[in-house]
Symmetry: C2
Subunit: 423 residues, 2 copies
């Protein structure tokens, strides 16, 4: 049996009881004959409390010091977890990101992993220990300063270590049973997905599913590390995210993975843009220079009579003001008529393989929305995804209608525990 | 102007307000033209809270993991302090014990410093930064594991860094105004000592004064680093601990530094020990093998008729049970008649230079106790200290009587803030 990397989020280790429960599960895995490397997040709300403290002493904290501060959180949880395992009669050693060889660039607060040199981890597990590694943190290659990886950082740590250690699987433990065909808080009949391809998971993640973040799935796909997303509160099988399902199966027909929704975005519409080459380039360079991440982009067909067109894009709500300011500043050189900003929108996405070659999928999708009385404001598609923008008020009806229309509803409608994941 | 090392204890940085107050003081020192290196303890009760958490997950925590856990405390306080300084417009960088080059042995929980290689600290302050260093922690030379220095560890970190950086002075900030001639909670008229020699401070520290720990003073004496103990709550001059007072003065007559007391010890009396060579050696080897630190040792004159003698020693109360068990186990080979254990004792010590050559000092000491109706149970003296053991109930009367008898009472009796120091 090979090496298993397990990652436990903050909600799984929120208190002493949680830590002891997680310790038991780790020991079970070890008893089953695996080498075990565990990546752990900070306990419960520790990170938020530390950020709050930082706000109290300084309005503008330096990235280096904020990272030094926040990494204390994992230091606490990993040491406690190692103690809890030891008290179950197994040897455990905890390692900081730096000790574990997680080498990053120097961008404090959202560092990127540039190398993983897990020599100490390898020799610790080879001596029979369970290695506990602080998630979310690393050490910068140039300055040797402590860095943090930003949102989803602990998942990324786990996948990166799994890749560097050639692990059999990277298990991501969370407070839900896996990845669902829709958000179970919205769709009671949402089903747990047993297997999903990396590509589909990437689309779900960027379409609003919060169980796994895009960045960690991308890393897993690049190094072909199977991820098993499962609950730390139950013993159930969760969702496997990998290149191919165990045993393989025919994928000629469309396989709908799920319906995701996202209400964290706003829509900017630039009205009356001269329909000539280079206009869009100027607009999106302006937005990019303001370091704003845009999502969907749609350009309506130009009205021949006026020679003017409208361009719409979506972006995170909290970047809306900066985008508007940046565009207004260049209104002269771009030459548009008006800017419209709308943050009462929702994005609903259908994700699945083989969609493009199954025209019926798009039709069914739109019919479902229409029957539910939901108006479509923007449409955007990729190989394995259709996304629409609707009114925010319509999001629940829209998700339920689409979920039903594609036969995703489970037969039972038992309540499913669901919540956000940690880092 | 040279480099100053400042150390702030947990009570000085107990909350955001405390951290901001400390930051201001540090910046003032920097503005006065000094290079500044700051050693900081964990905030307020952080360490106790972490120990409590450890107790909840595991009855017996490994030293390595406990150290990993506890060092999170300084990580939090030092990062917050750096942020607070930065928000005052000065550059500050925080460093872990490991980053600061505090190299220790591998004895987790009470590691000893074996080397200090402060290259990163030096280059940080040379670039104009204020360097903030985590107290109480280091990294083991052999295993590269995180270690802690045990009680008084942060003070020791400060003095060790001051020595390695050839600092002008090591300032120990605490919640009292300095070292007093007696515990101000007991003796209202206790006076702040302006200057005290290393040797006298060592005796005070081992006699129950808690402002500075023995270990840190010993380190300062070895490397001749002047210590300035002062309050972080006032701007007052505190107590200088150094080889010689500024300006020098005659030390032919006895200079009484102060009266210390200690109620944390217990007394063990071994009754009826055969008065022959080697007996004492067997007894104290037995105690040493149980890793018990004993303090005073007194052997009564042998009663000629019986050829038996009594040996008494004092030791920390919480090691009493182990000492009794260890001695009982070897009752056969030692051959004593009985063991007596008494934890209702107090030790009162008078410390000062030139004591041995001034016989009047001892006489005055005993007369003061006698006049106060305090019975003396054990006596032990050194070059610069006389200690007696009395009933615990008598400790306050005894300390006040001795303090008065040596003219240490101040003319005023204003209340003095007093409390324990942090790590």
């Amino acid at each position: 049996m090979g090496l298993v990397v397990q990652k436990y989020g903050g909600s799984s280790v929120a208190d002493a009881e949680g830590i002891k429960r997680v310790a038991k599960r780790i020991v079970e895995t070890k008893k089953n004959g695996h080498q075990v490397v565990v990546v752990v997040s900070a306990m419960g709300d520790t990170t938020d409390e530390l950020i709050d403290l930082a706000g109290q002493v300084s309005p503008v904290a330096s990235g280096r010091e904020l990272d030094m501060l926040l990494t204390a959180g994992e230091r606490i949880s990993m040491a406690l977890l190692a103690m809890a395992i030891t008290s179950l009669g197994h040897e455990a050693q905890s390692f900081t990101g730096s000790q574990a060889g997680v080498i990053t660039d120097s961008v404090h607060g959202k560092a990127r992993i540039i190398d993983v040199t897990p020599g100490r981890i390898r020799s610790s597990v080879d001596r029979g220990n369970i290695a506990i590694v602080a998630g979310f943190q690393g050490v910068s290659q140039s300055s040797k300063d402590i860095t943090t990886l930003g949102r989803g950082g602990s998942d990324t740590t786990a996948v990166a270590l799994a890749a560097a250690l050639d692990a059999e699987v990277c298990e991501i433990y969370t407070d839900v049973d896996g990845v669902f065909t829709a958000d179970p808080r919205v769709v009671k009949k949402a089903r747990k997905i047993d297997w999903i391809a990396f590509e589909d998971m990437l689309e779900l993640a960027s379409s609003g599913s919060k169980v796994l973040l895009h960045r960690c799935v991308e890393y897993a796909r690049r190094y072909n590390i199977p991820i098993h997303v499962r609950s730390s509160f139950s013993g159930l099988e969760g969702t496997w995210v990998s290149r191919q399902p165990q045993g393989g199966r025919a994928v000629e027909q469309a396989i709908i993975s799920g319906v995701a929704h996202d209400t964290s975005e706003a829509k900017v519409t630039i009205v009356g843009v001269p329909d000539k080459p280079g206009e869009a380039a100027v607009i999106f360079r302006t937005v990019a220079d303001a370091e704003i991440n845009i999502d969907m982009v749609v350009q309506n067909v130009s009205a021949a009579a006026t020679g003017l067109t409208d361009i719409s894009f979506t972006l995170p709500k909290d970047e809306g003001r900066r985008a508007i300011e940046a565009l207004e500043k260049r209104r002269g050189s771009i030459g548009f008529e008006a800017l419209r900003y709308d943050d009462q929108i929702a994005k609903i996405s259908l994700v699945g393989a083989g969609m493009k070659t199954n025209p019926g999928v798009t039709a069914t999708f739109f019919e479902a929305l229409s029957n539910a009385g939901v108006n479509i404001e923007l449409i955007s598609t990729s190989e394995i995804r259709i996304s629409v923008v609707t009114r925010e008020d319509d999001v629940q009806a829209a998700v339920r209608a689409v979920h039903s229309a594609f036969g995703l509803d489970s037969d039972t409608d038992e309540a499913v525990v669901y919540g956000g994941t940690g880092r």
